[in-house]
């Protein structure tokens, strides 16, 4: 079946299954992570990163706005960097990143594990892995 043919089918005929929803989620979460990272970088620049942080540290903060990522910089006062506001931002980014990443791992695994049993096992393990990493990640974020 050619790509143009399947695209001409209506959504109802194609069916709205889980894989299709995850395809959409991967793209939307990618865009959302762009927004989160830009937001964190702008926040860092507004809180004094222009004078007190080097480029690599701004990137570290941008990719995960956790206060331990600015501990080694010249930032004089760490209080504004560990507010619930930034912890919530970091938690949102963590949830998006883990869901996006674990689904990516499942997609890669599907290229090599092709039996129904194997794929079911991959899915069960991936859900367990995802929940574990979200739990540990949130714990680290809210206790640091």
């Amino acid at each position: 079946m050619s790509g143009s043919h399947s695209r001409s089918l209506s959504l109802a005929k194609r069916g709205l299954n889980f894989e299709m929803l995850m395809w959409l989620f991967t793209r939307l979460s990618g865009l959302a992570m762009y927004a989160f990272i830009l937001f964190a970088i702008v926040g860092a620049l507004l809180m004094g990163a222009r004078n007190d942080m080097n480029f690599a540290d701004v990137m570290r903060w941008g990719f995960m706005p956790n206060v331990s990522h600015v501990g080694n910089t010249d930032i004089p006062e760490l209080e504004p960097w560990s507010t619930p506001f930034w912890k919530l931002t970091a938690s949102g980014l963590l949830l998006l990143a883990v869901a996006h990443g674990v689904h990516g791992l499942v997609v890669i695994a599907d290229d090599y594990i092709v039996t129904r049993r194997g794929r079911n096992l991959v899915r069960i393990l991936s859900i367990l892995f995802m929940l574990t990493m979200i739990g540990i990640g949130l714990y680290v974020l809210w206790t640091s």
Partner: protein, 124 residues
């Protein structure tokens, strides 16, 4: 069964779809690199202690930062290209041009980052 390739990696890269195949491979390497990095980094931060601190010092090494920044930036730039092409399917006609734009965006950004990280690390 799944692991068997019809052609070798080098043949695939020389094949007509070379540009997209290269970005596809690099997208996977970047994604896997980030997944491994983030998993071990979160675990190391959680466990702490000597082992955790040792693992996290690797992540503060400038050579590792260049590697992980390559993974992240390439995955982000290529991902944005995929999103744009998927949201506007007519653009698939210009796939080759989207690849040129992608490299034109990625290479200066990555080059700048490598320059800044290297000069900061070496104290130049």
């Amino acid at each position: 069964m799944g692991l068997r390739r019809n052609v070798s990696l080098t043949t695939a890269l020389r094949y007509k779809g070379q540009g997209t195949f290269l970005t596809y491979i690099l997208h996977r390497i970047g994604g896997l690199g980030m997944a491994i990095f983030i998993t071990t980094h979160i675990l190391a931060s959680f466990l702490g202690g000597k082992g955790g601190v040792w693992v996290n010092t690797i992540y503060e090494n400038w050579l590792f930062q260049i590697f992980i920044f390559f993974c992240t930036l390439f995955h982000a730039v290529n991902g944005l290209r995929i999103i744009i092409v998927d949201l506007f399917p007519k653009l698939i006609t210009y796939q080759r041009e989207t690849l040129w734009i992608e490299w034109a965006v990625f290479l200066p950004l990555f080059g700048f980052a490598v320059f800044v990280i290297t000069s900061t690390a070496l104290g130049v």
